[in-house]
Amino acid sequence: MSLQFLADGLLAGLLIGLGAIGVTLTYAMLRFANFAHGEMMSFGAYVAWSASFLLSALAGTAWPAMGPFSITAAVLLGGLAAMILTAGLALLLDRLLFRHLAGRGEAITLVIASFGASMALRSLIEFAFSSSPLYFSSDLQIAVRLGMGIRVTPDQLALIGLTLCLLLAIHLLVTRTQAGRAMRAVAENPTLAAVVGLDVRRVVGLTWVMGGALAAAAGTMAGILVQIRPNMGFDFLLPLFSAAILGGIGSIPGAILGGIVIGLAEAACVQFVGAEWRAAVAFLILVLLLLLRPRGFFGEAA
């Protein structure tokens, strides 16, 4: 039996996990499911592509690929720009939409508003870039054999490395800084955080910044791995929510672990059942989970 699904699933799962961090934290803090989170991933991917395209145009020539990877320095810089601009987009959505609605409406108002934001963003992207897919690179990648029937491309290895670096940075931020502690406290109990004197509004802002930046990173990497499409973020939505709920709402390690489980399950399904069933996997896991253990791996008992 080939264990190829482990390699594919791990990377896909890490990307789902990166995206799910923002979902799980904003869900815990603001008590609503943000449907526009997938579009932050697409937005990030398009910003990264545009920025790297611009950098190449400015240099007058294509930037050389680094070593065996198809990723150029321009793509890395583009990814950085995408993280910054998507963090800004998340803050903007919070200021214009969610903050105003959170004060008066019920949770469903926020959910529907995020659905509207999701559709508007997707249509804007399609308007600006058309619906035909874009690619960071047209280079062919030669896969490396790792044994046990596993083959990975150099890009896949680079992306796994990059993701692990990001996760380490998040881990340090969340456990070793006041900002991270405040985020965990607000995610655990927003009302209590306010009465003990935390500036909840600012902590929520920080969370949007972090969630947006991570979504952009995940979107960019998904774009490098496959392709960039206006629908890519929307297609990620179900895996994102499944990962967040599987890990327990509000838990960052839970989101990552949940993402890896979903990614592995999807990849296993593609390999052993058939690619046409892939999208059903996250849905199936979500339904089983809500029936059997609705608080997820690390969630508090309701």
Binding site: L173, R176, T177, Q178, A179, G180, R181, A182, R184, A185, E188, N189, L192, A193, A194, V195, V196, G197, L198, D199, V200, R202, L206, V209, M210, E300
Partner: protein, 263 residues
């Protein structure tokens, strides 16, 4: 900011005509008092007298409908709770609720104010400064946990603490922000006698170190031991004020506690 020593001495806390209504009921109905720096003052009164609502208004959990609150001369009655903690007002709760999944130490560290690491940017551009502050914050949290006798539990999840230990934890968290005034809502309620002695002794030590205390308490012995000034509330109004001996011998106070209608 002018040099405080050049100003005439002013009370640390001044409350004037404070009113808080819920629907048609005035839970706090015209409370005024002043608290000098360095004092320990007790607020007593039967259940439903409006003591906790008074604290909610002082700490910023509720906004008053009328009246003024000044902390060190600054009007604070409209400020959100996190701003009030930033200018020296700490608070503990009648039923302490820590963040249960976070460690005891982390719960205390959450009380720190004005940390560079609170913002995203310095964490990346000035990691050295953030790390030094973080280390200082951690060390101070350890000291405070030692002060409240919880040092051995600093890495336990806060949800595993007993009710009395949670009160001590809240005390440490409130002290973390270096407050000039701490509001204590029933620090003795539900605490076993041995722990109560520790709490009383720690409160006195905090006061000797310069922290002003305002406490709600039903345990009259504890009030008599700690406070030289007592405010008695009933039905949201001030009923009596003075030394513990004076107010406890006041017939109106006895009447209010025994449930008679207030004259």
């Amino acid at each position: 900011m002018s040099d405080p020593s050049s100003l005439p001495p002013m009370p640390l806390l001044t409350v004037e005509g404070l009113v808080k209504r819920f629907g048609g009921v005035a839970a706090v109905d015209g409370i005024s008092f002043t608290l000098e720096a360095g004092q320990i003052m007790g607020v007593i009164g039967p259940n439903g007298a409006g003591k906790t609502t008074l604290f909610d208004c002082l700490a910023g959990s509720q906004l008053p409908d009328a009246g003024q609150i000044r902390l060190a001369g600054q009007r604070i009655e409209r400020l959100p709770a996190w701003r009030r903690t930033g200018i020296g007002l700490g608070r503990t709760f009648q039923i302490p609720r820590p963040f249960p999944a976070m460690s005891v130490l982390e719960n205390v560290m959450l009380g720190a104010k004005d940390q560079a690491g609170e913002r995203i940017l310095p964490n990346w551009v000035a990691p050295g400064r953030v790390r030094r502050q973080e280390a200082a914050c951690r060390e101070r949290a350890h000291e405070l946990l030692t002060f409240v006798t919880l040092a051995s539990l600093s890495h336990a999840p806060a949800g595993s603490l007993s009710g009395g230990q949670r009160k001590l934890l809240e005390l440490a968290r409130a002290l973390m922000a270096k407050p000039s005034l701490i509001l204590l809502d029933e620090p003795a309620a539900g605490v076993n006698p041995a722990l109560l002695e520790i709490i009383i002794e720690r409160l006195l030590a905090m006061n000797r170190a310069g922290t002003t205390l305002l406490l709600i308490e039903h345990n009259i012995d504890m009030v008599a031991r700690l406070c030289r000034h007592v405010l008695v509330m009933a039905n949201g109004r001030p009923l009596a004020a003075g030394t513990p001996e004076n107010v406890t011998s006041d017939p109106r106070v006895a009447e209010a506690y025994l449930g008679g209608a207030v004259a």
